[in-house]
């Protein structure tokens, strides 16, 4: 297909990115934890002249253990929490024709991708949207809104599910769950430590001897940097998560088209989703980056440019549709079904 990367390159890239993100966050946590210790250590050293008064890096140890526990729990429970927060119900015994179609379509796409069938969820929300979550193919879940079921026809539903299946097959769901749990840890830690600091600020205060010397200046610089990171951490980590999610949408579009061999259907499904663009009230900010279209209905996703590049979780819809139509055109051309022009 016309996708720039093939499946295995994309999977390998996701694996590398997963490792890189883990490393980045570990460094970040180390700085959040031990950076504070460094500041206190330098401050204590400047006061006591030579004698080491601050031996045990307690901030670092506490932060690291809390981060590890919180990250592990949200890694294991994250997908269920996301589904729970959207009020999704699992489709076990489909009743209506639409629900039966959904279950069938999910199974069809699982066969096309050569993966185990993911669990199917429905969200009672009139706005058409869909997302996938999970840690790997065996724990994957695909959720669609009732609005989507009402708006699209079978082919388009298939295309949307294929797009979500693309996220599962490309291992995007794993990366997203990991990033979500790490971002969650940072938000928790930054809030908690901000509160702690207000209590213990006097430790660093200038109550020592006057002047203080270069060590105290170093301590102050490290401390200021540390506090700034602490304040900015949640924003920075969210922006990073958004950037990761954005270029994944194009690839999932391409993978979806590869699975159905029908890029035109996804283009028309996206068009329908876009015309119904209203906030999907059941999907909160925490799950926004997982969805096929931005559930918050933010204008920033429709534009192209610097600010949009920084803040949007999704590439502009018009661009995605254009790319898919291009694929459909190539397909028709290859099959010799285009009228001679």
């Amino acid at each position: 297909m016309t996708a720039g990367l093939n499946l295995f390159e994309q999977q390998a890239r996701n694996r590398r990115l997963t490792v890189a993100w883990l490393a980045l966050f570990i460094l970040f946590f180390a700085w959040l934890g031990f950076g504070g210790d460094l500041a206190f250590y330098l401050a204590a050293a400047s006061r006591t002249e030579g004698q080491v008064a601050y031996r045990f890096p307690w901030i670092g140890v506490v932060v690291t253990s809390i981060a590890a526990i919180v990250a592990w729990v949200s890694w294991r429970k994250g997908p269920q929490q996301v589904l729970w927060s959207t009020g999704a119900r699992e489709l076990v015994a489909p009743q209506t024709l639409e629900e039966k179609q959904l279950v069938n379509v999910v199974e069809e796409m699982a066969i096309a991708a050569g993966l185990p069938k993911p669990k199917t969820y429905v969200i009672d929300d009139p706005d058409p949207n869909a997302f996938a979550t999970g840690r790997d193919a065996t724990t994957a879940c695909i959720a669609v809104t009732t609005g989507l079921l009402a708006v699209v026809n079978r082919e388009e539903l298939q295309a949307v599910v294929a797009h979500e299946m693309g996220h599962v097959r490309n291992l995007d769901v794993r990366l997203m769950t990991l990033i979500a749990s790490l971002v969650g840890v940072i938000v928790v830690l930054s809030n908690g430590m901000g509160r702690m600091l207000r209590g213990s600020g006097s430790l660093l205060g200038g109550r020592g001897r006057k002047g203080g010397g270069p060590l105290l200046v170093a301590a102050a610089i490290v401390f200021v940097l540390w506090v700034i990171t602490l304040i900015l951490a949640p924003f920075i980590s969210r922006i990073m998560a958004m950037a990761v999610s954005r270029d994944r949408e194009y690839l999932a579009d391409a993978t979806g088209a590869e699975l159905t061999r029908n890029p035109g259907a996804l283009a028309s499904a996206l068009q329908k989703i876009e015309t119904h663009e209203a906030p999907t009230t059941h999907i909160k900010e925490g799950a926004a980056h997982l969805c096929i279209a931005d559930p918050l209905g933010r204008d920033v996703n429709l534009k192209d440019g610097r600010l949009a590049d920084l803040l949007a979780t999704h590439p502009p819809m018009a661009k995605r549709i254009t790319r898919l139509k291009g694929m459909a055109f190539q397909q028709l051309k290859a099959a010799g079904q285009l009228p001679a022009s």
Binding site: L97, K100, Q101, N104, V105, E107, E108, M109, I111, A112, A113, G114, N153, R154, E155, Q158, L259, R261
Partner: protein, 191 residues
């Protein structure tokens, strides 16, 4: 010194042979597994057809030929051997017969409005799709397997891994290739 170099070369070659061998075996098993996926869906289709025929028989007594064609194609498909080519031909004929039946069914509004028939039709359409997607996956996996065993240097261990050319499931001719497209247009519940 020379001995060490020689030993290193031997070890490298052995490691490569082992990994190439294992790669081929993995691909072979994937191909077999992909074929089994098709089989599961074909069997499901064979099981569903009698239900459909019995449900529509009463209201469609003008279309005996179309129904009979489906029944005949089904028994032929069930009787066909395990080979890729025979299965593909027999199942292709069944797909064609079913497609014609679906087109004919469009002319009977009371049939189309029956919940039972709609459910059955959705089940059969979905099974048709599953067969098509399982075939797509099988062809992709089998092509990968075939390419690997022909490519140098993996072809050197192809004999060792007892790798054989896997036959692709190809559509018999253009006319049959066009039938699933008729199916697709039928699957739209509304416009």
């Amino acid at each position: 010194m020379g001995l060490i170099v020689f030993l290193i070369v031997v070890v490298v070659v052995l490691v490569w042979v082992a990994s190439a061998y294992n790669g081929l075996i993995a691909l072979k098993n994937q191909t077999v597994n992909a074929w089994k996926q098709i089989d599961v869906q074909l069997k499901r289709r064979h099981d569903l057809i009698p239900n459909l025929v019995n449900t529509v028989k009463g209201s469609m007594n003008f279309e005996k030929d179309t129904l009979q064609a489906v029944v005949d194609a089904r028994s032929k498909a069930m009787a066909s051997g395990g080979g890729v080519r025979e299965t593909a031909a027999a199942e292709g004929a069944l797909t064609g017969a079913l497609g014609k039946l679906f087109v004919v069914m469009e002319r009977y509004p009371d049939l189309k409005s029956s919940q039972n028939v709609r459910d059955l039709q959705e089940e059969l359409s979905s099974t048709e799709n599953k067969i098509a997607f399982a075939r797509q996956l099988y062809n992709d996996v089998a092509t990968g397997y075939n390419t690997k065993q022909q490519q140098f240097p993996t072809n050197l261990v192809a004999g060792l891994a007892k790798a054989e050319h896997a036959e692709l499931w190809e559509l018999e001719d253009k006319a049959e290739g066009a039938v699933p497209q008729v199916d697709l247009s039928l699957q739209k519940p509304q416009g």
